[in-house]
Symmetry: none
DNA sequence: ATAATGCTTCGATGAGGAATGAACTATGCG
DNA sequence: CGCATAGTTCATTCCTCATCGAAGCATTAT
């Protein structure tokens, strides 16, 4: 019989699909609320709450209470490194997708990620917004630059309001393996894309398909 | 809902105490039979066999059949790195062991990590190699400096050959919480240490114990 | 051959834990 | 104060999966 650090205890915490999804969501580096994490994991709020207390007890998470909001975040870089290591193994032994079909191709270009845009388009957009100094990338976090308010106001997006959810969030794109923009700003931009009918959602899929005209408009506004 | 690599599947494989013990035992680097692993894990042979087939199916182990013996080993350095990362988290959040026994002290100084050296000695060695500008630390990666080839050749280690595995890799040390050297170079150095009989492996443990003479030789070559 | 060893498969049992709705607590707003 | 939102706790149901004994294969020894 072996002794030493209880690795089974830690691994089994990550070994539940709901908890694994929560931890993956937190790999963005931003703390999230219990409801957001419940959504990410696809479970009810009580279930999420139960998982979160287990993760807390296991020392994998930190908790910051602000008013009636409770923000959960990864306990530290060491935990993040562990998740990364597990993800690496899972990706390398995982079922290499047999062949990306046409739907998958569309998914890689643009798709919905919960409430914001993901895929190549989304990654390019975030890069461009940072280039134009409208957003500031700080380590794994993203902040609004001073110039952002007026710029986004001009295209009908208000970034001044203080909602319960962070305005900007980095979300790791699983197809491109780089970050795209989440948070309320990311959500507002997706709303605009759909409201302006620049693109439509594929039926029963997360894919987002731009029309030729819509793509031009999108590029003019966000990739110029 | 998240997508991507199935990290829960991998983590849950490690999340069972019996399987975790088996994997820990295999971190010693030597392949073991099912009976030996059953003993390590403290379960019956049928139970162990069942666990082993799950680990195989998950791609975490390799199997080498020799006659009526079947030797199980870790599937590769990536898997070993993952176990090490989980061990690190478990050690830091876990109930700080009441009192580190003598074996633990030896483990902290020097131990085998799959196929290379870990512990205080290993961390000090990497620091020194970087100081001497034989290795270049870049972010989380490690590269060979131009001067490396001739230096290592002089002590009988060839870093020119292009293997499929990286020559240098950083591996986070769970006891010191800093990186040590993995990769083919790390493995070659451990080989040399054991071949020169500077140190011997503790029986039934991952600890590596240097002899007084061996330590001097090691320090002269790698810590000078 | 027959026996012995090493290991896997099968079948039955049992315990842990993941899930949810409903009830409860806490904070914020008008 | 009363209402709404955010979150936790509770009790219950359900199901997966770890476990072991017994039996079945496969390889080596005699």
């Amino acid at each position: 019989m072996r002794e030493g650090p209880d690795i089974a205890r830690i691994a089994s915490l990550v070994g539940d699909p709901a908890r694994a999804n929560m931890l993956s969501a937190l790999m963005g580096g931003t703390a999230l609320t219990a409801s957001e994490l419940a959504l990410e994991a696809g479970v009810s709020l009580p279930t999420a709450s139960s998982h979160l207390s287990k993760l807390m007890e296991g020392g994998l998470l930190t908790l910051a209470s602000q008013g009636r909001h409770r923000y959960y975040g990864l306990a530290g870089p060491q935990v993040a490194g562990m998740i990364e290591a597990i993800t690496g193994v899972a990706a390398s032994v995982g079922p290499q997708r047999v062949r990306p079909g046409p739907r998958d191709a569309a998914m890689r270009v643009a798709r919905v990620c919960y409430d914001h845009l993901a895929g190549e388009q989304a990654v390019a957009m975030l890069d461009r917004l940072v280039d134009k100094q409208l957003l500031l990338r700080e380590d794994k976090e993203i902040r609004l630059a001073p110039a952002a308010a007026s710029h986004f106001a001009a295209i009908g997006i208000d970034v001044q309001a203080k909602p319960r959810r962070p305005v900007c969030r980095a979300c790791l794109d699983w197809s491109v393996r780089r970050s795209h923009l989440a948070g309320t700003l990311g959500a507002a931009i997706l709303d605009k894309i759909l409201a302006e009918k620049w693109a439509r959602r594929e039926k029963d899929s997360r894919a987002v398909v731009f029309s030729p005209v819509g793509r031009q408009a999108f590029e003019k506004v966000f990739l110029a």
